[in-house]
Symmetry: C2
Subunit: 597 residues, 2 copies
């Protein structure tokens, strides 16, 4: 049976010793988030993840969701009770606006917890995560009345939310969508069409489900410029917030899928359902992207979360399973064999995962801080700066974290040999669950294109310059510290590769856009590596400071330094091959006729 232990000490190290939060102490949310309170919340949330959510993870996988003939969907045994505990604990409302019943804490704190919930039970956590995405859209573009009507019950978890984009013939290219919205005399719309792959589309956890649906009005352009966003509740809502009639929509089928069986992925049929325009007409994509950007960061955290829990279980196994002898001579001479953690190739997989997990956690929290600052920083310049940074890094966090999440879950599974392949040990579920994160909320290929085609050139490359300056500053600060040299040297080489690849794209992608597309995924991974290298440099610096000051657990900080050096010596050098791939361009890649495949 798999287990999970929330890495609270690691999250707190990043929050308290790596991120420099002092300048923000007086900002809304941050002023309430004292270190003691945050530590207590993470400890409590970690316990909830470990004790309530994790034991249901395999249950969700083996039972899945059941749809009855009338379209009702039942979640796996225990999910309802856990959802009730989740809402009663207020876990979904931590970073919500106080005006709507939220606790007003920084997004930063909620993100730290989100990782734990995802590690413990990704399929379960998708229910509240989708709700938060829907709230973000309503808050961003909804009228005050819509916000007042829908957000408080959603924030409490009494109602949940969904995103309805994909249709059978279109996902990435929303210009092709066919769902129609016909205006009615009362100002509402009749929504008709079929949506597929709708996560949390129908279930028995919440009283009501608020679907956010993309559709086209009859006289709108038949392109992405003619798409509007609608609130389409499962139960209509009276003006006083009480539930009204059942709306004309339903789950037509549950998708049979590779993983995340605990989440109900639905085909949703809208048969003239009543919907309400949210935001401007024909500007639905803008609202959708607000929801999507938040969701993309959350999906990135899924990559981290699955990598973390899979690694923990692989490490537990590797410490206990005895098989063979260490190459350097018996380590467990009294026994007939050594624990497999003595074998360097097993170590390699565990260290690869660990170096990613800890680095990704730091980058994820750094990103969450930017999300907060983009909203509450003191000056418009600071808000813009944070928004630039998180805009640039969002596709990297989504794409790189989920590619590595899957790869690392696979590594962790490998540590168990044949036992990793059978269901019992739970490892193969982590792999199957992690796989979806590379696909949804925009495939990783779309993330790479968003990065290279949109985020890099935006505002003349302002965001990239800002971020590179942060890294240069960190390198300059660290250069006085010889103990950091293995890390600074490696990061400088990585940065050199990033500069080289960026300049190559500037010279070669404008005249031939396929060169941008051809190198986009390599560029995304190159940037992910440099971003983690940057975070590792910051963490190593913080660890040295603590060691020099002789505060805290010296072993914890020593391990940080070892893992930082491992990242620098074994993982970061991969930047060179990504640069080579960018610079190889599109020619050989695009040369074959399509018919030749």
């Amino acid at each position: 049976m798999p287990t999970y232990k929330a890495p609270v000490a690691d999250s707190l190290f990043i929050l308290n010793e790596v991120l420099n939060l002092a300048p923000y102490a007086e900002l809304p949310g941050f002023s309430e988030a004292s270190p003691d309170l945050v530590a207590a919340i993470l400890a409590e949330g970690g316990k909830f993840a470990e004790e309530v959510l994790q034991p249901l993870n395999q249950v969700g996988d083996s039972h899945g969701c059941q749809r009855s003939a009338d379209g009702k969907v039942t979640t796996a045994p225990g999910f309802r009770e856990a959802y009730t505990q989740f809402t009663e604990g207020g876990w979904g409302a931590l970073a919500g606006k106080p005006a709507f019943g939220g606790q007003g804490l920084p997004h930063l704190v909620a993100s730290a917890l989100e990782e734990y919930f995802i590690s413990a039970n990704m399929a379960f956590t998708m229910y509240p995560m989708l709700t938060l995405g829907a709230i973000a859209a309503i808050e961003a573009v909804g009228t005050p009345a819509q916000q007042q009507l829908f957000v408080p019950p959603m924030l409490s978890g009494r109602w949940s939310g969904t995103m309805n984009l994909t249709e059978p013939h279109c996902g990435t290219d929303l210009g092709l969508l066919r769902t129609r919205a016909e205006p009615q005399a009362d100002g509402s719309y009749r929504i008709t069409g079929t949506k597929i792959f709708i996560s949390s589309g129908e279930h028995d956890l919440s009283e009501n489900i608020i679907h956010l649906v993309l559709a086209k009005m009859p006289d709108s352009p038949d392109s992405v410029k003619g798409i509007s966003l609608f609130i389409v509740p499962k139960f209509l809502v009276n003006p006083d917030g009480t539930p009204g009639a059942r709306n004309a929509l339903g789950c037509g089928a549950l998708e049979k899928k590779m993983g995340i069986h605990g989440n109900a992925t639905c085909v949703m049929n809208y048969d003239g359902a009543t919907g309400y325009l949210v935001g401007e007409r024909d500007k639905g994509l803008r609202a959708m992207f607000i929801m999507m950007n938040a969701a993309r960061l959350g999906v990135g955290v899924q990559g981290l979360g699955q990598s973390e829990v899979a690694t923990q279980n692989a490490a537990n196994y590797a410490r206990e399973r005895v098989q063979g002898r260490a190459l350097s001579g018996p380590q467990n001479a009294a026994g007939k064999a050594d624990p497999i953690i003595v074998h360097p190739d097993v170590r390699r997989m565990l260290m690869n995962n660990r170096a990613f997990n800890e680095g990704a956690r730091a980058l994820m929290l750094w990103g969450a801080l930017q999300v907060d600052l983009a909203q509450v920083a003191a000056t418009p310049e600071e808000r813009q700066r944070a928004d630039d940074l998180i805009g640039l890094l969002t596709p990297v966090i989504k794409g790189y974290f989920t590619d590595l999440g899957y790869q690392n879950a696979t590594n962790a599974q490998q540590c168990l040999g044949g036992h990793g392949y059978v269901r019992e040990w739970g490892m193969e579920q982590f792999v199957r669950d992690a796989r979806i994160a590379m696909i949804y909320e925009g495939t990783n290929g779309i993330q790479a294109l968003d990065l290279v085609g949109r985020k890099l050139p935006m505002n003349g490359g302002r965001a990239l310059r800002l971020w590179l300056t942060e890294i240069e500053t960190a390198l300059n600060t660290a250069s006085a510290e010889p103990r950091l040299q293995p890390i600074t040297d490696s990061l400088r080489r990585g940065l050199g590769d990033l500069h080289g690849a960026t300049q190559w794209l500037m010279r070669n992608a404008l005249t031939k856009p396929d060169n941008a597309g051809a190198g986009s995924m390599a560029y995304l991974h190159l940037m992910g590596l440099v971003a983690l290298g940057h975070q590792w440099l910051l963490m190593a610096g913080a660890a040295l400071r603590a060691l020099d000051a002789q505060t805290g657990d010296a072993g914890f900080y020593q391990n940080k330094l070892i893992t930082a050096r491992y990242f620098a010596s074994h993982l970061l050098p991969e930047t060179s091959v990504h640069r080579a791939r960018v610079e190889a361009g599109a020619e050989n890649l695009m040369a074959l006729e399509a018919a030749a495949f």
Copy 2:
């Protein structure tokens, strides 16, 4: 619904135009294998794979195998009929010895077909593959009487075979095994113990199942030096070959696993079952490794086979699914969107897979030729040379092919976006099925250790020198041809990385064996890349010769050149990072205390 088309033209290109078979034309097996006969066999076998095996692939996945209370195991609907057709077609006996009813064709021809059968239905193909492994062991170490009794019905497929190594507490470290073999007065043994993860352990396809079981005799050393191999038939066999009593063994449970649901993976209980020593007592591991080495090559082919079929389906989808517009401007101006194959990142995944598949097919067939030559070449020197080469490359073919098989199946799945994640399209099955190949027959970590710790240093590095000389010869031949320069340049750089990594290991691994273990997987991948680069150089040379001679389909050869250049520009440069990882050594990798994980 997934489809499959056997790549017959590609196999024949390699057999007829890339491998230089002329010097072997008079050898046993080769003399019968005229190009026309081979072409006919591949066409017929390809058709069998496409029309009989492939349509059962999803059936096997969704139905799995069923075990009834009395321990009987039923395979998925259609498997029995397909197995009958398989045996009637003589598909399992192609390379079998004529003395035992085989057709005596080269292993080379059987390997080409094996790929097709695996692509079409990997779980099904495991039944006959395991039988061939068991035959190899009996032929290698069994007495003439044992061979005569067991091999003919196994070769015909009337009986099938299994390998029983793993026990609950041991897989890799067989010295720990507990299954006992007690000598009986009649010269037989009573076998008692539990084996797990036994592929094809019990099923309804064949009349009898011949289990090869590793066990310890009471007075043998309690280590790998005390393991013997036994033939333990499901039904005892009378001296005249007729079936006797049911033996005291059975399937205790079916494993629930991530994939290959169509194959019955069994817990096997031996309750004082009658067994017969095969080969020398206490030398069971030697016999097992004969079986294992053949099986490892077959597992490598599984990596290729799953990559191939997944790629075909991804390419079909990418040519048909319209979504978005090409970066270089609309390609399908009449439609509302372009087929996604216009997008460079989709292309990248397809080209990565294609460049692997075609290169791996060439290396696999080159390897199969060595297997043949090791047995039938004219002189002892030639046989030794072939044996050296295939011994060296076996862990590479197993490890590199299966790592890439899984990675490429994942890439192919990615091309379908959300449709890749649902069962219907069959892509996620390819990923789940491909995953096991990295684990069984020795995990890929074990392959890497076998390569670096055993195969490299064996006989003073003779095998590596032989193989490097082959590559140098190919490079020297090609250097006169400027059109091959992009490939030769890249291969020379790869070879330089291989030399560098090898020398680093020679200098640093003897004094500190952990350095060998730490870099072993990187070294295996480095060697895999160079091996494929070598094959691509040979294929590109053959393609140029055909183009210059204006024979055959010019498009086919042009595509080979394009794909060769793509391999050289986009994939082969990865050697540098593997070299860097080898040279990074074990220090940072092994520094953490085990308890810190």
